[in-house]
Each structure stands twice: as C-alpha cells, then as structure tokens.
C-alpha cells in the first residue's frame, strides 16, 4: 500500500456516502491502520450532492477537510458525472497520477472526449460497476448501493480487506455502541432495517453484497 491513500466519495444525499466512508475508515482502523473520515460540510438533503472523504495511512494523518487531490474517487450515482451533481467538477477534479475511479452505473453511457483525454493524460483507470444492480439483486434494496461500492473498492484495490469491511459493517449496524447519526441518516437506517425481520438478516445481506461485488471486481481486474 502507498504511504497515504486519500479517497473521495461523491454521490447523492441518501445514497450512503457518509455511511460508506465510516465503514471504510473503521475497517482500516480494525486493520491497525490510521484513518480519518469526514463528510462534505454542507446542509445535505436527499438527492442533493453529497461527498465524504477517507484518508488511510500506516503513519500519522494530519491533513483534514476535503480531499482535494484524491488517489481514488468513488462515484455513487451517474448524475455526478452526467449532470454535474457534485461539489467538485468535473468528477475527476484533482485526481492524482495513476489514480483509480470506481463509478456506479445504472444504464450505459459514455464520457465525452475531453474527459477521456484528461483521464488518459493522468493515466487514470476508470471502472464502471453495476453497484445498484447488485444491491437490488442480492439485498433487494437500492439502499445497499454503498455496501456494494465498498465490495468493489476492496476487490479493485488493496486499501482494506473484505473481512475488515464485513466486520466494520457489522459494527456500524449491529455493534454494541450506539451509532451517532444525523436525523436523516437515522431515518434511513430505520428504513433499511425495516427491510429485514431481524438485524442478522441485514448483516448477512450486507456480507452477501460485499462478497458478490468483491468477486465481480476481481474478475474485472484479472
């Protein structure tokens, strides 16, 4: 792993970019790494642009605030690219050389030529992944798109392991310490928990989504 990895997650409010960032950061901490996690500092609401940032490192992390120069960008909704629903435009703004972009798509679309050229110039690898599709197929709810995105991240990069993600997701939804969440996040938590009769079912669904996305990612990169 590179010394310090900075990840920017862009999506729409309600898609769980903040929750995903938390699960990822906590997973890194479980692996005895350092991590910091923060959301974009706006008055987010459902379907408005939402961003969160994760920094993971073997050594002390100092830099705080927005990740201006990310190594990895994760895009949770095609509108971030197609309609510019994002705080950072274009969607790859600031990406470091040899960076990685993982973008969720629901229908096929292609980038315009300028974007393609820019990404090529920085030798960026762009992966389009059907995260929402997997969330619907395996978990029966698009609210689990964020979980699928994390599975893809673990499969495509070595930032954290699949096992740590599973453990971290378990702690986020079923851990002993009550998770402090904003009112809207708490409401979405309730909504996703209602899809299942028992919290264990949510956990096993999350694990299945993570595994499926991870496996698909491995087949993409091989």
């Amino acid at each position: 792993m590179k010394k310090e990895i900075s990840i920017r997650m862009s999506g729409l409010g309600g898609q769980g970019v903040v929750t995903a960032a938390h699960i990822l950061g906590q997973a890194a901490v479980l692996e005895k790494k350092n991590a910091t996690v923060n959301p974009f500092f706006g008055a987010e609401k459902r379907l408005a642009p939402a961003e969160s940032y994760v920094r993971i490192s073997e050594s002390e992390i100092y830099d705080v605030g927005e990740v201006v120069y990310p190594d990895i960008i994760m895009i949770y909704h095609p509108d971030v690219i197609l309609k510019g629903k994002s705080y950072t435009m274009p969607f790859y703004s600031g990406i470091r050389k040899n960076g990685i972009i993982i973008a969720n798509y629901t229908t096929e679309f292609s980038l315009d030529e300028t974007d393609k050229e820019e990404l090529k110039k920085s030798n960026v690898k762009l992966y389009f992944v059907p995260a929402t599709k997997i969330a619907l197929e395996v978990g029966n709810t698009e609210l689990s798109t964020n979980i699928a995105m994390l599975g893809y991240l673990a499969g495509i990069t070595d930032v954290v392991s699949l096992d740590s993600l599973k453990q971290s997701a378990y702690e986020r939804f079923a851990g002993k310490t009550k998770f402090v969440a904003s009112a809207t996040t708490a409401a979405l938590d309730e909504s996703v928990k209602k899809q299942y009769a028992k919290i264990e079912q949510l956990i096993s669904s999350n694990n299945a989504i993570l595994e499926k996305a991870y496996k698909e990612a491995k087949s993409i990169i091989s």
Binding site: H22, P39, Y62, D63, V64, G65, E66
Partner: protein
C-alpha cells in the same frame, strides 16, 4: 443514574492517570466523552451548525444521569445569560455555540470575565458573514481576543477532549476564576472521525467548590447586582472610573496567573518541532495539522521547516514566541480566516516582523490543502490574502 456511579477524583488524576482507551469518534463525540467526566451541574443548549451535535450529545448525557440539569435556551444571548446566572449561583456549567451564535451572545463574554465566572464553553468556529455560510472559519476568535476570556485552540479531537477537561481545573482556581473558551475548527474537527484516547475508568472530576470563588456566590441575601450594579461603579466620578479600570486590570492579571495552571497540563503554551529550521510555520487549530502535512511533503523534497503550534491564544505566549522565532529567517502563518488575526498577534510580538509571510489564508469554508503552504514556503509570496 449512571452518573452517580462515577467516583470523584482530582483533575490531576483524571488527566494524567485515569485509564484510557482509543476510540474512533468524531469531535462532537469527543465533547460528549469529556463532559461525561466533567461532573457538570447544568448544561444549556441552543442549536447552530456545526455545534448542534455536541450539545445534543450532552443532552443524551443528561438523560443518562451524567449531567444534573439540561435545557434548551431561547437563543444564544439567553443561553449565555443563563449559564452566567447559574455560575454566579455556584454551579459548574457547560455550553457551546459558534459563528453567528457567538456574535449574538457577545455582550455576555466580557460580563462573564468581569464577574469572574469559571464557565467552560466550546466554540466550534464557523463563518459569520453574509452571504450565509455554515462552513469553518476562525474569524470569531479575533472578536473575542480582548474579552478577558482564556482562549485555548484545539488542533484535533484529542486536544478538544483534553482541553475541555483541563479547562475546568484552570477556570476554577481561586486566583484565576475566569471563563475558558475551548475553540475548535467547526466540521474539520467536529465532524471528522479520528482516533481519540478517552478515559474509560469509572471516574469523574471532583465537584466544583463555590467557596473557593473570589466573588460571593449569589443567593437571596447576595443578589447579583452587588457586582453588576454596585453604586460605586455606577456613579460618574473619578473613583468609579478608577475602580472599573483596576477591575479590568485585575481580570487580565488573573488571566496571566492562569499560565502556570495551563502549563501543568499543556506542558508549554506552545509546542515546537524542528526548532533550528530557518523557516518556521506558526499556527493554531486545524492550520497546525495542515502545516504538519506540508512539512512532511517538504521534508521529502529536502526542505526543513519548523512548526510552532500555539495552544493558548489568551494568555498569549509572548515570551515563548519571541524566543522560538529569534533565529527564524522566514515565518509563515497559515490561517482559516481573512483577517489574519494570528499573524497580527505574532507581528506585534517579535522583532523584525518583516520576516513574516502573512498567509496562506483560506476562509468561507475552504479546505487548506498542504500544497498551498508548500507553495508559499517555496516562493515566499502571499496567497489568498
């Protein structure tokens, strides 16, 4: 209630000896963890982003029995007046606000200091201007510099946690007995999840002893107007002016007397790395973290820079700064506000202050990428001023 199960211990035991564990929490959660151990009698809240979550969590502590009383005030002016009344009556209080809330409550802050109230309060700094912003900006700190309040600036959630706890012990010393504001950059710290070492032993700070106050505690026999409206201060004659002037001097003297208590916990009011480097960065709060990240980048390129972290803004570490910068050739002062109040403070402290590069500065909610500090150090030019 859970709060009653905690054993009262001295501030020294609490901060130096009590068993700690590392938790992955936000700055707001660090505030909750600190207040859990602070044995607070009364906390009063009024919501304003990015402070709301902290006081909401303190409300949870009330529900769990760790804070004796808690309510939501009518607005920030009311809250700061209410905590003043409670402190005058001899109880330990806590509150927090930020940005526009700070300004709305402003009249109270010099009143707190003049009334010698040991109120501990957190400020989760945010911008104040129109157009409206809820984003981080440390401009409110410049307005508070001369209120008589002790001002500590936390770099991260760990500082925030420790500074809130030590603030009670410093504020409540008889020879100090002044309000302490613990400042932290809103969002950058309050909403960022990071590792924080918090106390896990079943202990809390020993309760406040109002008999140690240099001012009489109010009750039905000792009404507050004894010092709010005592006739000798309200008359227009030389004696009343002299009384008021010496009172103000005593407040400032009390603030400087806090230094030795602050040093007991903070070591020094400043923290230095790479003291011999020709280039020195002076910063407080989140700007210190950005400076550390910049120093890391520069080191890889073979450029050595020193960092001077200022932990206490009031009292200001004048002598320490003079000494730390005596051999510096270039002094860079990154800040999260437009006014550059820290650069002004340093410039009025040291000799040959043309060595100072006033910047970089970002404000209105912007992040300060360490790369900007790197560029300023290399070019020695101003960016964002």
């Amino acid at each position: 209630m859970a709060g009653n199960n905690l054993k009262e211990v001295s501030a020294e035991y609490l901060l130096f000896e009590a068993k700690r564990e590392e938790k992955f929490i936000t700055g707001s959660e660090a505030v909750k963890e600190a207040i859990l151990r602070a044995n607070v009698d009364l906390a009063i809240s009024y919501p304003i982003t990015p402070q709301s979550e902290s006081m909401h969590l303190v409300g949870d502590l009330y529900a769990e029995g760790y804070v004796k009383d808690y309510f939501r005030g009518e607005n920030e002016f009311a809250v700061m007046s209410e905590v003043a009344g409670a402190a005058m009556a001899g109880v330990r209080v806590f509150t927090a606000t930020c940005g526009p809330g700070t300004l709305r409550a402003f009249e109270n802050f010099p009143m707190w200091a003049g009334s010698r109230l040991p109120i501990v309060m957190a400020f989760m700094t945010r911008g104040v201007n129109a157009p409206l912003t809820i984003q981080p900006d440390t401009i409110e700190m410049s307005f508070l510099l001369d209120t008589g309040m002790i001002m500590l600036h936390a770099e991260n959630a760990q500082d925030l946690y420790d500074m809130i706890l030590l603030a009670y012990d410093v504020a409540e010393q008889t020879s100090v007995h002044l309000p302490v504001g613990v400042f932290v950059d809103g969002f950058f710290v309050t909403h960022t999840r990071q590792k924080v070492k918090v106390i896990v032993e079943d202990v809390k700070l020993k309760s406040y002893d109002p008999s140690r106050s240099p001012m009489p505690t109010i009750d039905m026999e000792t009404p507050p107007f004894r010092y709010m409206r005592d006739p000798f201060v309200m008359k227009s004659n030389f004696i009343s002016y002299a009384a008021h002037a010496s009172w103000q001097q005593e407040v400032i003297a009390a603030m400087y007397r806090s230094k030795k208590y602050l040093e007991k916990y903070l070591g020094s009011l400043i923290e230095q790395t790479n003291t011999d480097a020709e280039i020195q960065i002076v910063a407080s709060g989140t700007a210190v973290s950005q400076a550390r990240a910049a120093a890391k980048i520069l080191k890889e390129e073979g450029i050595e820079v020193g960092i001077i972290k200022i932990k206490s803004i009031r009292p200001f570490p004048t002598e320490e700064i003079k000494d730390a910068l005596k051999n510096a050739e270039k002094i860079v002062i990154p800040e999260f506000n437009r006014a550059g109040w820290l650069a002004k403070e340093v410039a009025s402290t040291i000799k040959n202050n043309d060595r100072i590069v006033h910047g970089p500065r970002v404000y209105g909610g912007m992040t300060m990428p360490p790369e900007i500090i790197v560029e300023v150090i290399k070019k020695g030019t101003l960016i964002g001023v």
